[in-house]
Amino acid sequence: MNKNTSLDKTQQILRQLRDNFLEELPERCDTIEDSILSLGNGADDEHFQRLYREVHSLKGSAGTHGIPAISTICHQLEDSLTTAQETITHKPERIDLYLRYLDLIHHCIEIAHDKRPNYAEIDQALEAIRRHSSPHPLNGLIVENSPAMTALYQGALADQPVQLAVEQDGMVALNRLLHERFDLLIMGAEIRTLNGPGVLYALRAANGINRDIKVILVSSSQRQSFVPSLAPDVLVPRGPEMIPSLTGAVAEIARQARD
């Protein structure tokens, strides 16, 4: 058997495994739904951990089978579960929120069966859920190596109308930016795996959902140069003026979004 035939056969097996995954997915969704409903009835921490693991596993499986839309839904559901767990609240509206994510997974299963699956409406629905469930009109992502700097940004922006997620690794952040909608990216220039300009160039060059979002780059270099069409919207130098500059830039972006 030559190499191409062997690869074709491997691809065929992988396609079959993906089909099996899709076939069994409604049953996995039923299990998750039962766990969510039990959570609403005051289930204990062990129950919560089981639900979290189910969602986390589904996120990994869907990505491995080449269905990133389901991974993105699970990612947001995981974030919602984590937030609720931190505040120990699974109020009825939170349960409704979890079930809305689950409905979207069911919808993804239908789309995945199409010959040319198009998940654009899933992206829109996820964005609508996020806007509905968040008290903040803007969704921002901080990408920064240093936990101390991240805490500094979060503290400074606490009064701004932005909900902030955090990543510390450039590649992980880029992957998230390609699949999850954000309004604003605040990024250190010196981050791991892929540096800030690298993430920025890839984001602008890729024809993704966040291609045109506002980007604030925080850099210790005073003489950072960029390809003009790929430059950040705001360059904030590290130093004594960093926090006022960052806060001012975010306030201005929020104002523009509001107007």
Binding site: K9, T10, I13, L14, F21, G60, S61, T64
Partner: protein, 130 residues
């Protein structure tokens, strides 16, 4: 074939569908011999007899998680020094650092690409033995 060439992998993963995809990725694409265990307990029972050159383990599993499983496997004389790689969907630097402290020579991010997983492992193996 050199003595350092990687052939035998003990793969620990509780999810059946990930097991199936990884089996294709490691055996059909990578040409490895793979023993799959669905839990840390199963790995402890089957690990020594299989005599793996590499332990490849999921992190988040019910019962014994990946780091706990590796810690237990390390107590078995023949697996005390066997190189290990963790696979996880949580790839934050501090979590990766914790997994390395727990004895992993590398951490591979989930979801993995079935067509490139074997090469990723070969690259880590080569670096480890350079």
């Amino acid at each position: 074939m050199s003595n350092n060439e990687l052939q035998r992998i003990l793969f620990i993963e509780d999810e059946a569908d990930i097991q199936a995809v990884a089996q294709v990725a490691l055996e059909a694409v990578g040409g490895f011999t793979v023993k799959i265990c669905s839990s840390g307990e199963e790995a402890l029972q089957a690990g020594e007899a299989f005599a793996p050159q590499l332990i490849l383990s999921d992190v988040m599993m019910p019962g014994m998680d990946g780091p706990a499983t590796l810690l237990a496997l390390r107590q078995l004389p023949t697996l005390a020094d066997t190189p290990a790689i963790f696979m996880t969907a949580k790839v934050q630097p501090q979590e990766v650092a914790q997994l390395r402290t727990a004895g992993a020579m590398a951490v591979i991010a989930k979801p993995f690409d079935p067509m490139t997983l074997a090469q990723q492992i070969k690259d880590v193996w080569r670096q480890h033995h350079a």
